[in-house]
């Protein structure tokens, strides 16, 4: 019986056992749900498979040429630009509020909590909250009428020229708090005496921001920017829940999901997913390499 107690084994036997036993499940999960889909996706992208029938044919690069030649498929990249620009607004606001809240200020914890809170909310709830916010005679219209801007109200979600601005705005509302809290954490890890020394030297707040805060959070800033760019290209939740891609709000991922699960064009959808994956990996690698170069 004693043999079955692991503690009676030699350490070298235990070592082999524990390495295998502790790795097998995490590795199996990682392979099955992270890598296998990528491998399959590449394979499907060269086929005309509809996702359920028994047979399919290989069609070479047809799906890829279609994505880049048919405007219906590549115009979704233009929609990404709205979210991309919104990303910079989001970063700017987050940095501004993180900076002013890192100095002595009244009601610090209150403002910190309120600015961060939207990030924690359920995505579907946020979608509905902003449907109500933007609907005719909804929150925004009523507010504008109340302050005398009534004649400028729009069909925020009905006008194809504005819809992506509205949706990107909702996205800024949702994600700004995340960047804010990360920046705030990074800024507050700067030692206090650095500020005190610069105070003695007569530095003003702007100079402190420019020469103390900004340099010490460059890395975090870059990292967040990359995450946000990948996020902009893969925008899905908010536009899917709110408009399902109608009125010109179709994003890359909504398009992919529709093609794969609604129209049975799994081959084409896979090609789109491959393109998206390559873009995200490229952006991330560029950032990692440029960050290494600075160290």
């Amino acid at each position: 019986m004693k043999y079955w107690r692991i503690s009676s084994w030699s350490y070298s036997a235990q070592r082999i056992f524990i390495i295998c036993a502790f790795s097998i499940i995490p590795l199996a999960l990682l392979f099955t749900f992270a890598y296998l889909p990528v491998i399959n996706m590449f394979k499907y992208s060269f086929t005309d498979w509809n996702g359920y029938s028994k047979r399919f044919d290989y069609v070479g690069f047809d799906n890829y040429t279609r994505i880049f030649s048919d405007p219906e498929y590549f115009k979704v990249f233009i929609v990404s630009l709205y979210y991309f620009v919104a990303t910079f607004v989001q970063m700017g606001l987050a940095l501004y509020f993180a900076t002013i809240l890192s100095f002595k200020i009244r009601g610090k914890n209150f403002f910190k909590g309120i600015l961060f809170f939207p990030y924690l909310l359920n995505g579907v709830a946020i979608g509905f909250i902003f449907l109500f916010f933007f609907k005719p005679d909804g929150t925004l219209d009523t507010l504008m009428q109340a302050v005398g801007l009534g004649q400028y109200t729009q069909l925020w979600l009905g006008n194809p020229n504005i819809i992506n601005v509205s949706l990107a705005g909702a996205s800024v509302w949702r994600y700004m708090g995340f960047n804010f809290i990360i920046f705030l954490g990074a800024i507050s890890s700067i030692p206090k005496d650095v500020y005190e020394a610069s105070d003695i030297d007569g530095a003003n707040r702007w100079q402190q921001f420019r020469h103390i805060i900004l340099p010490s959070i460059t890395r975090i800033l870059q990292l967040n920017l990359i995450l946000a760019i990948s996020g902009a290209i893969s925008a899905f939740d908010i536009p899917y829940i709110m408009t399902d891609g109608s009125n010109g709000s179709m994003t890359f991922v909504i398009q992919t999901v529709h093609l794969a699960f609604k129209y049975g064009k799994l081959g084409l959808a896979s090609a789109m997913a491959v393109v998206l994956l390559l873009i995200v990996i490229l952006v991330t690698l560029v950032q990692r390499v440029s960050m290494k170069g600075e160290e």
Binding site: I18, L115, A260
Partner: protein
């Protein structure tokens, strides 16, 4: 009042005005939903969205949303998935982190790289192919579909544990080995308890992600019995169409748990996200 003082006062005013404005923008969209959720149907139709409800204790919409919207089922499924996924992620994540941090062996570098590289893959892009795998494993329309996805594709737990383990001295392991403790005992009795702060971070980061995730349950668990909070709420879009007072109550029911947890655990939540994001 000299020029400097004047500048300082102006800066102060701008600072507070911008903060109050931001707080207003952050809260207003939610507050109007709270107002709407407490109004009767006629009251909602005849009042401005910005007007508070006549009766602050009118919970009729909440009862309707909760019962007709099947939100109890949603909460039940969300909690089951949440608990199994978090316990699973804590165990698998800490096990692999223990092996990768404490042992040297052939293929270790490749394993670390495999976990690192996986963070680059946005899971939303690979759904087209993941669907076939879930189907082949016969997991479609079961809770396990969501659970295995949360365990397999969200590598954040492994990261947090690896980072934290690096700061726990291996002298502890060695002295336990002198007492004859097995590697498993070292993991279970020494490493796992010491990982407690990291476990709190994992619970918070994964908990928020899972509670708010819409995509996975929507795609893999369409059955009504299996709906989670997100998908239960999403279904309000059809039958309640323009009954915004009921939809608003549904929204509030979905966000009240988040609000309570946030108020209770603020400090841990800030730290959790600050740590969880630094890769």
């Amino acid at each position: 009042m000299n020029v400097n003082q004047f500048k300082y006062t102006i800066a102060s005013i701008i600072k507070y005005v911008s903060l109050i404005l931001a707080a207003f923008i952050a809260l207003l969209p939610i507050v109007v939903i709270l107002f709407a959720s407490l109004k009767t149907n006629a009251e909602y139709a005849n009042s401005s969205p910005l007007a508070p409800p006549a009766n602050w204790l009118n919970f009729a919409n909440y009862a309707k949303a909760f019962v007709d919207g099947n939100m109890l089922v949603g909460f039940k499924n969300t909690i089951i998935i949440l608990i199994i996924s978090i316990v699973g992620a804590t165990l698998t994540g800490s096990m692999i982190a223990y092996v990768l941090d404490r042992f040297k062996f052939k293929g270790k570098k490749i394993m670390v790289a495999a976990f690192l590289l996986a963070t680059l893959i946005p899971s939303v892009t690979t759904q087209v192919a993941t669907f076939q795998i879930i189907n082949a494993l016969d997991l479609f329309n079961t809770r396990w579909a969501a659970i295995v996805m949360y365990l397999g594709t969200d590598i954040i737990a492994v990261y947090i544990f690896l980072q934290f383990l690096g700061s726990i001295s291996s002298a502890l392991d060695e002295s336990a080995m002198l007492d004859g403790a097995s590697y498993f005992t070292i993991y279970w009795r020494i490493i796992l308890p010491l990982l407690k702060p990291a476990i709190v971070t994992v619970i918070i980061v994964k908990g928020v992600n899972i509670y708010n995730d819409f995509y996975t349950p929507f795609l893999y668990m369409p059955k009504t019995d299996l709906q989670v909070i997100s998908t239960a709420l999403f279904k309000f879009k059809g039958p309640f169409g323009s009954q915004w007072e009921v939809i608003s109550a549904g929204i509030m029911i979905a966000i009240i748990p988040t609000m309570i947890i946030f108020l209770l655990l603020q400090k841990y939540i800030y730290n959790g996200f600050a740590q969880g994001s630094v890769k």
